[in-house]
């Protein structure tokens, strides 16, 4: 079994993961936050694209389940010597790995690795396609805050087109009963959202007073806005979560961000530090969610 995408996952499965994550949250709050559930299992983190929080979060989750962990990042690996992805994956499998956590800039790379190896695979982000554990930790964060996602109104704001976080959340949150609106200039919206159970708008101010949660996506400053929007200041003026916009949200609405944040771009500095910004809760919940996913795949075998 693998965990590669949120698309098509039934509500039951999603809720089971969240319920399990709730249990693991209790484990993580114990004096010794560790259970022997995956003792003797070997998890390999294969990060072909740079990552800090996701890789550390998976390491923390695996160790809290008493699994052994190997981590690999692309720089300094044999990839720089020209080894193919397939050979790298087979080499690591040959060391006795039970499960691979894979991040890669190319769409579908975790599927390819699952096909080449006998390992179970968790997708930790493939291109702009999917990052399913991110969506699960976001769902957990919202569920812990609101008790239930049914009817919850969530605006996802920013570079939807190039965001695996957005794609994962669209399917996970709506399957759990939330109503999702995607907010972005047309150049950052998906070209064709046939099959996406969402609405779209390019007017953030028009939806501010109708949402329970605003999910801000990271703007890739390195992209410099080149050819997708005219300039960062223009982006901030229309889509940034400024103090003014934050003040116009309903009084119990929350703000999420997958990190890393660009303070002053998609999110104002003050907003990022506000108690209704759940950004660090997301990070904490990420460990529990990843424990839940690892346990579902490797536990009981």
């Amino acid at each position: 079994m693998n965990f590669l995408t949120t698309e098509g996952l039934p509500r039951n499965d999603l809720e089971e993961i969240l319920d399990l994550a709730d249990e693991f949250t209790k484990v993580l709050s114990r004096p010794i936050p560790r259970v022997p559930a995956l003792q003797g299992k070997l998890v390999a983190n294969l990060f072909f694209e740079s990552s800090t929080r996701t890789r550390l979060s998976f390491e923390r989750a695996a160790r809290a389940l008493s699994a052994d962990v190997m981590s690999f990042s692309a720089s300094g690996s044999s990839l720089s010597k020209g080894e193919s992805l397939k050979d790298t994956a087979l080499t690591i499998e040959a060391m006795g790995v039970d499960l691979m956590v894979v991040r890669h800039r190319a769409t579908g790379a975790p599927w390819r690795i699952a096909g080449w190896t006998g390992c179970q695979v968790i997708n930790a982000g493939d291109g702009a396609h999917q990052h399913p554990t991110q969506a699960m930790l976001d769902a957990l964060t919202l569920r812990r805050r609101f008790g239930d996602l049914d009817g919850l109104r969530v605006a996802i704001v920013g570079d939807i087109r190039h965001s695996r976080v957005a794609r994962s959340n669209v399917f996970a949150l709506t399957a759990l009963g939330a109503r999702v609106v995607l907010v972005a200039p047309r150049t950052l919206q998906p070209v064709d959202r046939e099959g996406w159970p969402v609405e779209t708008t390019d007017d953030l101010d028009g939806v501010l007073d109708q949402v329970d949660a605003v999910y801000l996506l990271r703007i890739q400053i390195e992209r410099g806005g080149a050819s997708v929007f005219p300039s960062l200041p223009e982006y901030v003026s229309r889509y940034g979560m400024t103090r003014d916009r934050f003040a116009r949200l309903p009084s119990d609405a929350v703000v999420l961000h997958p990190g890393p944040m660009n303070r002053g771009v998609e999110i104002d500095d003050m907003v990022a530090g506000h108690p209704r910004a759940l950004i660090l809760d997301q990070v904490t919940n990420g460990v529990a969610v990843r424990m839940a996913v690892l346990f579902r795949l490797l536990g009981g075998k």
């Binding site: 992805l85 397939k86 390819r112 291109g127 702009a128 999917q130 996406w196």
Partner: protein, 439 residues
């Protein structure tokens, strides 16, 4: 007496399909008709092949194949590509010039046709680059290439984006003859794209190439062709919009022809949902509506010809994530069955699109001739109804979308200048002259 008698087949003659015997002698078709009966019967001393129930037509002509030699022989070479072509019923193949080095001058073109002759299974006709090194900056040695027998000029794989340069190429070649063949994809609209832009690319988060990238280039090229009077050929049409442009231009008198690949007649961008790179090619697989339009266009003649865009890649090169894989699928060995199954055409229509029209576009007088006494014996014998699913390939590469797909229609024999170059009864390829096993 020598020669081969093809006995009792349905023969594609200039007057349509007729049941007849065909006598091949001295590399030519010597006679067509009832040749077996009576004291003067043509069977004596001749090899007789019973082709009753089969169809005998002009050998197929491929306007568009990548034989990879020189420079990328681990994918394919002229010997293996010729074997694949003969197995697919082809007697002539136009070899794309994106070799290494690119075929931008006469001696390089001659190397390719000479290698084809040494192998001796099909006529390998080099296409030549429009621009030096396919860099899109200055014209290649057009006269030199023409003198070496090149009639199809293309930077296939790259679009000649500079309108001024394209105009000069068309003006230069207009009086000479030959055809400018364009791989039509606007570089700006296609930038960052790996597949058709649509709901599948949006779902996968993969960069898309809109159909617009093709139509804007074709629209521009048709205007330049109209101005210059040059013969213009659109390679591997992928979308419905291009058909409308061609149809309109043709009615204005523009000299335009077009080809479509078997895979674009069969598969859509849904194929990419598997994220298997075998479905990665330029132009990309588009929508089911485009498939319908392309099939209609091929049937009613807006599209003149089928071309394979045979693009072999080694297994390890495709065994990577989709975005990192090279573009292309193989096609020589499956083209006939794929087209036969997709269109279910009359034999006459199929041979028009796969033999007669492509031979005309590429100025190949010795190919694509309806069968009558005197023509060079470049022939194919097909079983119109045999059911099969491709499994094994003679090409060095097996990146085929048709592997395992049930198809109807199979090539049984291919004759190149009267010599048997493929015999499906043998489980191995018909021997080639340079293998030392023939004659």
């Amino acid at each position: 007496m020598s020669g081969i008698l093809l006995a009792g087949g349905g023969v594609l003659t200039p007057r349509g399909e007729a049941r007849a015997d065909v006598l091949i002698e001295g590399g030519r078709v010597a006679a067509v008709g009832s040749l077996r009966a009576g004291p003067d019967g043509a069977t004596a001393g001749r090899q007789v092949i019973d082709v009753s129930g089969l169809v005998v037509g002009p050998g197929f002509v491929d306007l568009h194949a990548h034989l990879r030699e020189p420079g990328q022989e681990w994918k394919e070479d002229i010997a293996s590509g010729s074997q694949a072509a003969a197995a697919g019923g082809f007697t002539a193949v136009v070899a794309m010039p994106n070799t290494d080095p690119p075929t931008d001058s006469g001696h390089l073109a001659r190397y390719i046709s000479d290698r084809g002759r040494q192998v001796g299974l099909v006529d390998v006709i080099p296409a030549g680059c429009i621009t030096m090194g396919m860099e899109g900056l200055r014209l290649s040695h057009l006269d030199d290439l023409f003198a070496a027998g090149v009639r199809v000029f293309t930077d296939d794989g790259v679009t000649v984006a500079d309108s001024g340069l394209l105009r000069r190429a068309m003006e230069y070649l207009q009086s000479r003859g030959g055809v400018i063949a364009q791989h039509a994809e606007d570089p700006g609209l296609g930038r960052g794209g790996y597949m058709h832009e649509g709901w599948v690319s949006s779902l996968l988060g993969m960069g898309g190439i809109p159909a617009l990238a093709e139509t804007v280039i074709v629209a521009r090229d048709l205007a330049v062709a109209e101005l210059t009077g040059a013969a213009y050929h659109v390679q591997h049409i992928s979308c419905a919009g291009t058909l409308d442009l061609i149809d309109a231009a043709r009615s204005r008198g523009v000299s335009v022809t077009a080809e479509v690949t078997p895979h674009h007649l069969w598969f859509s961008d849904r194929q990419v949902l598997s994220m298997d790179p075998v479905a990665k090619m330029y132009p990309p697989l588009r929508t089911p509506a485009d498939i319908d339009a392309l099939r209609d266009g091929l049937r009613d003649g807006v599209i003149d010809a089928v071309a394979t865009d045979h693009a072999p890649h080694a297994a390890h090169e495709k065994d990577v994530p989709f975005e990192e894989a090279p573009n292309g699928v193989t096609g020589l060995e499956t083209a006939f069955a794929a087209v036969r199954t997709a269109l279910d055409p009359d034999p006459g229509l199929l041979f028009e699109r796969m033999s007669v029209a492509p031979a005309t576009i590429a100025s190949l007088e010795r190919h694509g001739n309806w069968i009558e006494p005197g023509i060079p014996a470049n022939l194919v014998v097909v079983d119109w109804h045999e059911q099969w699913a491709p499994e094994r390939f003679l090409s060095k590469s097996a990146n085929s979308l048709f592997a395992g797909v049930p198809l109807a229609g199979r090539v049984r024999f291919t004759f190149s200048d009267g010599r048997l170059t493929h015999d499906s009864r043998l489980d191995i390829p018909a021997p080639s002259p340079d293998s030392g096993r023939l004659r």
